[in-house]
């Protein structure tokens, strides 16, 4: 039913070809957005004529299979974290995470809630933080340009870190998701 195999550790690639690949990756960011709160509202204007993210080659994809970037926006509850993990692991490598808004990054105003994560980094590898409550579309675009720069420089390696330290992440995830029923890796 579900594939239970653990992922292989990705190798290191360098050289001219990899630079070209990274250029292509940076200029063609396909996004799957996971919005539980106000962040989802702020993402919509990005597609409109005022901000127009398509000029950077950023496009929305409705399925994680075809996406490169996962935008997590709004506070993350333990319940939603499970879904985010599944979505993230279903994205094909290389993949990046943008954490959008204070609540996502550190719990924000819900820091003392019984249900909201305080430190996202423990559970998923974040490449770019866009802070604010909520960040405006300009800030999001700023975040994207930062991500593009990181990819071009070959520094956006969160997905490698995640795969290499899967045990660490799993331990943290399983600590708060008490009814863990996901497979070992969500292919």
């Amino acid at each position: 039913m579900y594939c239970n195999q653990r992922p292989e550790k990705p190798g290191v690639k360098k050289g001219m070809l990899e630079k070209i690949n990274n250029m292509a990756r940076a200029n063609s960011l396909w996004v799957t957005a996971y919005g539980t709160g106000c962040g989802a509202i702020e993402l919509r204007p990005l597609g409109t004529s005022r901000f127009d993210m398509e000029r950077f080659g950023i496009a929305m994809r409705p399925t994680p299979r075809q996406a490169d970037v996962l935008i997590i926006s709004g506070y993350l509850a333990t319940k939603t974290l499970k879904r985010v993990i599944r979505v993230y692991e279903q994205i094909q490598d290389p993949k990046y995470i943008i954490a959008l808004g204070s609540c996502t990054i550190n719990g924000g105003m819900y820091f003392d809630s019984y249900n909201t994560l305080n430190v996202l980094d423990k559970y998923l590898p974040v490449d770019v933080y866009v802070m604010g409550c909520m960040p405006r579309p300009e800030a999001v675009i700023d975040g994207f340009s930062l991500l593009m720069q990181k990819i071009k420089d070959g520094r956006a390696q969160g997905w490698k870190h995640y795969k290499e330290n899967l045990d660490y992440y799993r331990e943290n995830q399983k600590k708060i998701i008490t009814d863990w029923d996901l497979p070992d890796y969500n292919w």
């Binding site: 063609s28 398509e54 080659g57 994809r61 094909q92």
Partner: protein, 299 residues
């Protein structure tokens, strides 16, 4: 040997042209929306990125083979149509069959993609396939009536023959000789290119991206190149059928470009039909248009 070189060049050229046209269409759509739009080379970048993604998954044999089906089907259509009339080396494989063969071989890729979508096990992919097949069976009706009317009117099924019959000036183009059949075929062209208001297959609002929902990475890049090739092949086929073919490369590029812009422009100003509305529209409007010319030909 020259034939094989021509075939290889045709494939590569059609792929590039198809991707470029796709990029242009994205820009044009953006400009209609009042946006800047991506670079015209954006589709090449996307292709490259997808091709170079480091992991991918598959769901089974048919899922694995579907992009192959898609590309093969697209290239077959491409090779069955002569590119530049008078330049016999660009006729590729068109000696091997006539317009009926082209009509039926067009389904090869569609069926392959449908099978891949089916094997992916994703319900939305299959819903899209069911919609797509229902729509295809509807527009093929008017398209085939138009083709029969033209072929019977010109007394040949061979595409070369059809193109050669249109070489006596612009008024001998089939779009002027068979205006109703051409209108029917051109309306059928919209759903063929999955343009709105007929874009019920890749409806991202309700069935995420349709048949290729589960396709990722390199599979997706194959799918996209298949789509680009198929799009170009259909353009060349329509240019040959209705617009007098191409007597040189420039006219081929210009005509295919202009024809490509037609669904793009229509698409960006229309909302989407429901499936049954689309099917019914295609059953009645273009079919009755094409029938006018068929009756004319019969009499």
């Amino acid at each position: 040997m020259g034939n094989i070189v021509s075939i290889v060049l045709t494939i590569l050229g059609a792929l590039s042209w198809g991707l470029l046209l796709g990029g242009i269409s994205r820009t044009v759509t953006a400009r209609i929306h009042g946006r800047m739009g991506p670079r015209v080379t954006q589709n090449f970048i996307d292709m490259w990125k997808l091709f170079k993604k480091t992991s991918s998954i598959h769901h089974g044999g048919m899922f694995w083979m579907a992009p192959m089906f898609r590309i093969t089907g697209a290239i077959c259509v491409l090779l069955m149509v002569p590119l530049v009339i008078g330049n016999s080396i660009t006729y590729n494989m068109s000696f091997a069959g006539d317009i009926f063969l082209v009509i039926y071989i067009m389904f090869f890729g569609c069926l392959g993609m449908a099978l891949g979508a089916g094997n992916s096990g994703h319900p939305y992919a299959v819903i899209a396939v069911s919609r797509g097949l229902a729509q295809m069976s509807s527009y093929e009706l008017s398209f085939s009536i138009a083709v029969v009317a033209i072929a019977v009117g010109l007394k040949t099924f061979r595409i070369e023959g059809i193109v050669e019959a249109q070489q006596a000036g612009i008024l001998s183009w089939n779009i002027f000789r068979f205006p109703f059949a051409s209108a029917g075929a051109l309306i059928a062209f919209l759903p063929m290119q999955m343009a709105y208001p007929f874009g019920i297959v890749l409806a991202p609002q309700e069935i995420p991206i349709g048949p290729p929902t589960e396709y990722s990475s390199r599979f997706l890049s194959f799918m996209f190149s298949g789509r680009a090739l198929f799009g170009t092949a259909k353009l060349i086929l329509f240019v040959s059928l209705l617009f007098g073919g191409a007597s040189n490369w420039i006219s081929l590029l210009v005509k295919t470009f202009l024809l490509y812009m037609y669904p793009v422009v229509v698409s960006s100003v229309f909302p989407r039909f429901r499936t049954e509305q689309s099917i019914r529209f295609l059953w009645f409007v273009p079919t009755s248009l094409a029938l006018v010319d068929l009756i004319r030909v019969m009499l």
